[in-house]
C-alpha cells in the first residue's frame, strides 16, 4: 500500500510540474469548482480562478526542480503530498526554494487497497498522463498550498 501511494504521488508530481513548466494553462484540468489554492498566502477557489492566478504569475517561463516528494493516504479516496524543491526563473541568478502541499481526491470507487497494485491504480496512472480518456469523476486536486522558502 505504501509503495502504491508513493507511486501515485510521484506520478502526480511529475505530471503537475511538467504541465506547469510546459503548458501552464492546461493545469486548470486538474482542478474542480471546489478546489482551493493558497499561493504565498493568497487564497483562490475554483479551477477558473486558480488557472487565472497561475497564468498571471510574473514570469512566462519557469522550471521546477524537485528535491523531495512525500505522500500519505489521507482517506480511502485521497492522497496528501508534500513537495520541496527549487524554482528556476529565466534571468534570475539564484534558484528560489519552495515547498508545496497538494491533496488529491479520487473517484470513490477507486480506493488504494493494501493488496497488490490494482487495475484501477494502473488505469488512474494512465489517466494522469492523459493516455486514456477519464470517465466522469477522475482524480482532481482538492487542495494546493505553495510557499517560497526564503533563506
Amino acid at each position: 500500500m505504501e509503495e502504491q501511494v508513493e507511486l501515485v504521488g510521484r506520478a502526480f508530481v511529475d505530471h503537475y510540474y511538467h504541465l506547469f513548466d510546459k503548458d501552464r494553462a492546461s493545469l486548470s484540468s486538474l482542478y474542480q469548482p471546489t478546489s482551493m489554492l493558497t499561493f504565498e498566502g493568497q487564497r483562490v477557489v475554483g479551477a477558473h480562478a486558480i488557472a487565472e492566478k497561475l497564468s498571471q504569475l510574473p514570469f512566462d517561463q519557469c522550471q521546477h526542480l524537485i528535491s523531495t516528494v512525500d505522500s500519505q493516504p489521507s482517506s480511502a479516496a485521497g492522497i496528501v503530498v508534500l513537495v520541496s524543491g527549487s524554482l528556476r526563473l529565466p534571468g534570475e541568478e539564484h534558484l528560489l526554494r519552495f515547498s508545496q502541499v497538494t491533496s488529491l481526491s479520487f473517484p470513490s470507487h477507486i480506493f488504494i487497497s493494501v493488496d497488490e497494485p490494482s487495475v484501477e491504480l494502473f488505469d488512474l496512472l494512465l489517466q494522469m498522463f492523459h493516455l486514456v480518456p477519464s470517465p466522469g469523476g477522475s482524480f482532481f486536486v482538492q487542495n494546493d498550498m505553495f510557499r517560497l522558502n526564503y533563506g
Partner: protein, 156 residues
C-alpha cells in the same frame, strides 16, 4: 461543559492565544465554532510549544491510525510516532514559525495545515529550516487529532 480542543491536558489553555480563550460557550464544540484560520494557528502554537517543552506530551494529538513521515521515514500509530520524536538526536530545540496556511480538506471536516519555519537546536550555530504538513481530523468529542503528518528539512 468545557470541551478540550486538542487533548485533555489541564495545561492546554496556557498554550492557546488569549483571543481564543475569550471565545467560549456552554453549547457545542469550541473547535467547531472557531474560525479555521484561528483554529490552525491555535493548533500550531500548541503543537510546537508542546514539542519544545515535552515531546512525550504529543501522544494524545495522534491516534492509532495516524501517520508520520519524518525526513522520509514512515511511522504509524501514536506510540511509534512519539517513540520516534522522543528519540530524535537532540535534547532541546525551539521551533519558530514563519508561515501557517490552512484549507478545509473535504466533507469529513478535516483541515490541512501547512507550516514553514526554523528549528534551532541547542549548541548549533545556525537554525534549520523546515516545512511540515498536518492533516487534522475531527473527533466525535468535538476535538481534533493529527491523522497525517509530514516533516521535511529545507536544505539550502
Amino acid at each position: 461543559m468545557c470541551s478540550q480542543l486538542f487533548c485533555p491536558s489541564a495545561s492546554l489553555s496556557s498554550y492557546l492565544s488569549p483571543l481564543y480563550r475569550l471565545v467560549r460557550s456552554s453549547r457545542g464544540s469550541e473547535a467547531e465554532r472557531m474560525d479555521p484560520d484561528a483554529l490552525a494557528k491555535a493548533f500550531v502554537e500548541h503543537y510546537y510549544s508542546t514539542f519544545d517543552a515535552n515531546r512525550a506530551g504529543l501522544a494524545n494529538l495522534y491516534q492509532e491510525g495516524s501517520m508520520l513521515t519524518f525526513e522520509g521515514q514512515k511511522i504509524q500509530g501514536s506510540q511509534s510516532i512519539v517513540a520516534k520524536l522522543t528519540s530524535l538526536p537532540f535534547q532541546q530545540c525551539q521551533h519558530s514559525i514563519t508561515t501557517v496556511d490552512c484549507q478545509p480538506s473535504g466533507p469529513a471536516g478535516g483541515m490541512l495545515v501547512f507550516v514553514s519555519g526554523n528549528l534551532q537546536l541547542a549548541g548549533e550555530q545556525h537554525a534549520l529550516k523546515f516545512s511540515q504538513m498536518f492533516h487534522l481530523m475531527p473527533t466525535p468529542q468535538g476535538s481534533f487529532y493529527v491523522f497525517n503528518d509530514i516533516f521535511r528539512l529545507n536544505y539550502a
